[in-house]
């Protein structure tokens, strides 16, 4: 659905973007939720092909890991202003890869709200 939107060319301000893992899985995510990642944000802002299509390819990240990342995006988005945030559960098997992915996506610092940030 969002895919079509991306292909049809009105993705520049589209609500959703697509993240693609190394093994070809595609995840459709709220654009606003991905904005905490400075890496993705700059991918979408600058005149790269990603900003036209709204599709970000991550050939380094496995689908299992990317799924967790996507889960985090929504988890963060849901808990933006909350004070008591339940802990996110992370399986030990992927924690090292997730650590690396988080570092790569710039999710290492405590994210601030976009509105406050800029």
């Amino acid at each position: 659905m969002a895919n079509d939107a991306a292909i049809n060319g009105y993705s520049e301000e589209g609500k959703y973007i697509t993240l693609i893992s190394s093994d070809g899985f595609e995840y459709v995510v709220l654009r606003e939720a991905t904005e905490i990642s400075p890496t993705i944000k700059s991918m979408l802002r600058n005149p790269f092909s990603e900003s036209r299509t709204g599709r970000c390819d991550f050939p380094e990240i496995r689908s299992v890991v990317l799924e967790k990342v996507v889960e985090y995006f929504h988890y963060w988005y849901k808990n933006r202003d909350k004070d008591d945030v339940p802990d996110m559960n992370i399986p030990v098997e992927i924690c090292l890869e997730l650590l690396m992915a988080a570092d790569y996506l710039g999710l290492d610092a405590k994210p601030t709200q976009p509105a406050i940030r800029d």
Partner: protein, 553 residues
């Protein structure tokens, strides 16, 4: 019609032919199958079964169901004599010779048992090979565990002494001077099993009291506080004098029954902030020996008497803002113990997520310099200017402590919790140049250290859980004996000890505090008129000092 090919002759019509003698059916004997009545222990079902004449119906060699023994892939007809049908089968061919059978069994190899026993390592390796990921290296742990280290002589003696104490119900465990450089949790843990033997005598009220365990570990070479001690609830006396400890874990606050603690003659630089929970009204700690230790000391050590009083006043207001949020306990009876009062606070150290320290830094634990820079209470600690470092720089501000923690923190916590955390750390160190970010192993090591401290690292300002501290500062406290008398109207009055009033500058101890974000910094107190001059003086002094420093430099 003649050309019509002839149909092949049906080869097997025997089953249709009732007259064919070579029926595949087993010939039915005329005799009925043997009745099992003779061997059955069930009572007769029908009334006619009672008739003893019916026993005659039982016939030998009747038609029976074929029976087989063996697994489904190597079955053989049963020639057993242990059949419930009785001994009538003994006439069948005997079993193969037992020795032969044994040898045959040894040589037999099952090709496929029909059950797939999955092995974890193999299956994960297979599944991970399926993807052609390029950059994510995967740790390969050697599955040969390190051999358990041999128990040192000192440790053996310690174990024997502890077992003795547990068996005799003695509460004083003396493990001093055994030359221990580490003591395994398994050995030390058992001191929690010590239970005093109650006195059973005439005219003595039987009472099962809680144990009061006294542990002496002095004059050893311990480099780490034994973590398992933090779970020994009834530990009342603990001596770790003359060891090589560098830190006291924050979990020490769990030892609520501690009455006396001796940590002198170690390498301790600062104490954990949580330790202060033991210096409150109603707590049991009465005797504390900290010095000598290479503690960080504050600069501007010498105050005039006026300044000292002024500072005390400021400190009181600061403590009201920043002190621990726990409610004050109302006391039922008089109490004497130790009470901590804040006096100074150091500057705040800001650490970013890759564990770089920006701007001011506290004295490092491995450098000999121990002087700690101070900051007045009314000064707001602000993060230093950040270097711009590309697109990611905007989130490094760490300014919002609302909302979820970062994914990095969650993943780090998961790593630190895992049972293979130490292996991960080692692996990260060896694979440093394989595209892993710099300092990752150090970060992980720090996280492991905090997760093993016997508590969740909690931000001392906002109280949220954290994985790693983002701000650190040192607060200096006086610890002095105090006495609380409960007045008749229920009010508590604290009288500081005489020692405190006599010596204007008693010893101060540094307590390290953590914040989880860069906004979790010490609060600022409002200025009261008349302090401005003071501040101006301080500023002047600081400037002077700076000048001096520059001159020296």
């Amino acid at each position: 019609m003649a050309d019509e090919p002839t149909l092949p002759v049906l080869s097997n019509l025997r089953h249709n032919n009732p007259f064919n003698e070579e029926s595949r059916k087993r010939p039915r004997s005329e005799r009925a199958p043997p009745s099992q009545l003779s061997t059955s222990s069930d009572p007769a079902f029908f009334s006619s079964d009672d008739d003893p004449a019916l026993d005659n119906y039982e016939q030998k060699q009747g038609r029976r169901k074929r029976r087989y023994v063996g697994t489904w892939f190597s079955q053989q007809p049963a020639f057993s004599s242990d059949s419930f049908l009785g001994d009538d089968m003994i006439s069948e061919p005997p079993r193969p010779h037992s020795a032969l059978a044994k040898r045959a069994r040894r040589e037999f190899r099952k090709l496929d048992s029909g059950i797939y026993m999955s092995q974890n390592e193999d299956s994960t390796a297979e599944s991970s090979d399926n993807y052609d990921g390029k950059f994510v290296p995967r740790p390969t742990f050697s599955h040969t565990r390190a051999k358990p280290r041999p128990i040192a002589v000192g440790e053996q003696i310690a174990r024997d002494r502890i077992t003795e104490c547990v068996e005799d119900g003695r509460e004083t465990v003396d493990l001093s001077g055994l030359g221990l450089d580490s003591i395994s949790d398994g050995i030390l843990e058992s001191i929690s099993h010590i239970a005093p033997i109650p006195i059973v005598d005439k005219d003595v009220f039987f009472e099962q009291r809680d144990p009061q365990i006294k542990l002496f570990l002095s004059n050893n070479q311990l480099t780490q506080f034994p973590r398992c001690l933090l779970n020994v609830e009834h530990l009342t006396d603990l001596s770790l004098r003359a060891n090589n400890l560098t830190e006291i874990p924050a979990g020490i606050a769990k030892l609520k029954n501690l009455q006396s603690l001796n940590i002198a003659q170690n390498q301790i630089k600062y104490l954990p902030f949580e330790f202060l929970q033991l210096f409150r009204k109603g707590s049991k700690l009465r005797s504390l020996q900290i010095q000598p230790n290479p503690l960080w000391f504050p600069e501007e050590w010498h105050d005039g008497p006026d300044e000292f009083v002024k500072r005390l006043d400021q400190a009181k207001r600061y403590a009201a803002l920043a002190g621990s949020k726990q409610p004050d306990t109302k006391l039922e009876s008089d109490w004497t113990g130790l009470i901590a009062t804040i006096h100074r606070r150091s500057r705040v150290e800001f650490i970013d997520s890759s564990r770089r320290i920006a701007g001011f830094r506290l004295p490092s634990t491995d450098r000999p310099l121990r002087r700690c820079e101070m900051e007045p209470f009314y000064k707001l600690a602000g993060p230093p200017e950040l270097r711009k470092q590309g697109p990611g720089a905007s989130t490094v501000r760490l300014l919002n402590c609302k909302g979820a923690r970062s994914l990095f923190e969650y993943a780090l916590a998961a790593c630190a919790r895992s049972s293979e955390a130490d292996d991960l750390c080692q692996w990260l160190e060896t694979e440093q140049d394989q595209g892993w970010p710099e300092g990752m192993s150090a970060t992980l090591q720090e996280a492991i250290k905090f997760s093993r401290d016997g508590r969740d690292l909690k931000c001392s300002m906002c109280g949220r859980k954290a994985v790693l501290p983002m701000t650190r500062w040192v607060e200096y406290y006086f610890i002095n004996p105090a006495k609380v008398e409960v007045r008749s109207d229920g009010e508590n009055s604290i009288t500081a000890s005489e020692r405190f009033s006599q010596t204007p500058q008693p010893e101060m101890y540094p307590f390290m505090r953590f914040g989880c974000t860069w906004t979790c910094v010490p609060p600022t107190i409002e200025r009261v008129e008349g302090e401005d001059e003071d501040e101006a003086e301080v500023k002047e002094q600081e400037e002077e000092e700076e000048d001096e420093d520059t001159i020296i430099a």
